[in-house]
Symmetry: C2
Subunit: 358 residues, 2 copies
């Protein structure tokens, strides 16, 4: 459980338990925006997104350029909502799924702000919020932007087969979400904020020996279980202390594995658990099999749906746990396992029970 | 120029100028290690590295596994030198050049510590040190590890052609260094430290419209010039305030471009400039053309050579500026430019003139 050390300036006062950090001053999610593709716009959350594309090329020539434009538009909208300019951002924390993170490089260059490039597969939104919150809380920045994206077509090309092959997909496969979510973090609430980040539990790489890139949910569930269990132990909390525990993109197969793995540790999150990948599509009607995935999935659902609930106070405290599958086409073809990673971020209602500050 | 704000806890006290951060408490580089391949061991700095491989597979089955083993060994040696165990690390900041950063995922999993995955191309060592230093200085961690790697054979396969093709390379091309460098950062000097990180200037993505992946030096030089100029302005310093200004892997072509670009801004760093990529090989004898490159290049030269000079006090303050070229095989084949990024890290002699603290 967390213990604050006594002497300020000496040692890691804000380290918490084995692998967590607890923020002594509020980090506000000042604004956010989600831009999604056509299919996501047709899903159950369609009406909540800020911008829905008419087709998945968004007026660009390639899928990769389209993904870059998603990031650009999401950050633009988030800045606009906060009444800010790009010059207000000290830096950006950003990433995507593509090799060498090209969606980010070509999406954010025109903002002309320092870029901290991240790679955490589909967990990148949690990584970006974690590092962004550390920059704000540590006094290194007044304002930062956190941006992640994924795109169905660029991801299929990157990890599996070009779309033109028309290959079939097993029911355990997830559908990469075409979306980008952008978040503006500040140390000052301004005229209002969507939520407060009060702590994080960065995740370890967890390898259960699974190799099936068409069943990412199962590959990532052990990492989610590991991070959630570590988080609850570090903060001395129970699942009931959260209104929701929200994974990124485990889908239906991964959700079952997560609940089972945690039950083995005598942790029951069945009443709190929600998965962004399950929420974003109507699996039956939209033929998306196990659910949505991608680092745009968790970011877009966080911005459009989860933060709406937190902002209005329906949910007072949630644990956001985006999960990533650590593979590449090369590692897959060389017969390597698909390890997972999951980063936990605690988000609370502004003016809510932020006992992290007591 | 830097101004400290008055009220503690209010606002970004440690933000500095337009895009920099200045650390109010020391971040010690407690130990470091560099593991390199055979060719690097035969170069001018060969005798300084901690471990030199007998061949470039390091006993592994694939180039990618070999690169993972470099990271594993470098971190192991750095921990050993610091007299620490992996459990002392709150988290790792790490990255490499490969798609989806697989060298990192498979190299560091066994340490069972939280991993903040980074992508900054060949600038990743600067990014890892920057974010690691923020975690220490912000009070979020007592001790973190920063690890980056590159491997000639895995990088050629990733970015250009499989080695078996035996393709020719122009003289402007650089040779990707087979190496990993690992650094242990702490807030406590212990029995001694190799240097102190006193400030950072994270870099913007700079796109001069160049497209030649066989001339990375020219692609990255504008970013290095941009970050160095921003750094000097933010900190109110001149080149003479540094014993060396050390880029990562511009090579001979990029070095000339950097010096010229800075002269256009009336900044002359010709007396301070050094490039890790030029130092690591004997270009004439080793047929490495413009020099070495890769995020193992700057990390290994920093650990083996630069920190030796800083530790013994021959150099009292240096600016470490690793540079990255932001491309992938996909972006290159789609005709995109090759933008660059460069992250500046100020490293000072322990007990030296750390005026950052006054």
């Amino acid at each position: 459980m967390c213990e604050k050390k006594e002497a300020p300036g000496k040692g890691a006062m804000f380290a918490c338990g084995e692998q967590s950090m607890k923020f002594p001053t509020p980090v506000f999610i000042r604004s956010s925006a989600a831009v999604v593709g056509k299919k996501e716009g047709e899903g159950p959350l369609g009406g909540l997104f800020d911008l829905v594309g008419e087709d998945d090329l968004f007026g660009c020539n390639t899928w990769e350029e389209a993904e870059s434009s998603l990031q650009r538009d999401a950050l633009h909208l988030a800045l606009k909502k906060a009444g800010m300019n790009s010059t207000d951002l000290r830096c950006l924390f950003a990433g995507d799924l593509l090799g060498q993170s090209i969606a980010t490089s070509f999406g954010l260059a025109q903002y002309e702000r320092p870029v901290m490039g991240l790679y955490g597969a589909c967990s990148a939104s949690g990584l970006a919020l974690s590092l962004g919150a550390m920059a704000i809380c540590g006094g290194f920045a007044d304002c930062v932007g956190c941006v992640t994206s994924s795109h169905f077509a660029s991801a299929e090309k990157e990890f599996r087969f070009p779309l033109g092959y028309g290959n079939q997909r097993p029911l355990s496969a997830t559908w990469t979400v075409t979306a980008s979510g952008a978040f503006i973090l500040t140390g000052d609430p301004g005229k209002g904020a969507r939520g407060i980040i009060t702590g994080i539990t960065p995740g370890k790489i967890v390898d259960f020996g699974l190799k099936d890139s068409m069943n990412m949910g199962a590959c990532m569930a052990p990492a989610a279980a590991d991070s959630i269990a570590a988080h609850l132990a570090d903060f001395g909390r129970r699942p009931e202390d959260y209104d929701r525990i929200i994974t990124g993109d485990l889908g239906k197969v991964g959700q079952r594995a997560l609940l089972d793995l945690l039950l083995e540790k005598e942790i029951d999150i069945s009443r709190q658990h929600m998965d962004c990948g399950i929420e974003i599509y109507d699996g039956e009607k939209q033929d998306t099999h196990a659910g949505g995935s991608g680092c745009g999935c968790s970011a877009a659902v966080l911005s459009a749906y989860v933060l709406k609930k937190v902002e209005e106070g329906s949910w007072r405290r949630i644990l956001f746990v985006p999960t990533g599958a650590l593979l590449s086409k090369t590692s897959f073809n060389e017969g390597k396992n698909v390890p997972g990673i999951a980063h936990c971020v605690v988000i609370e209602h502004v003016g809510g029970r932020q006992d992290a500050f007591h």
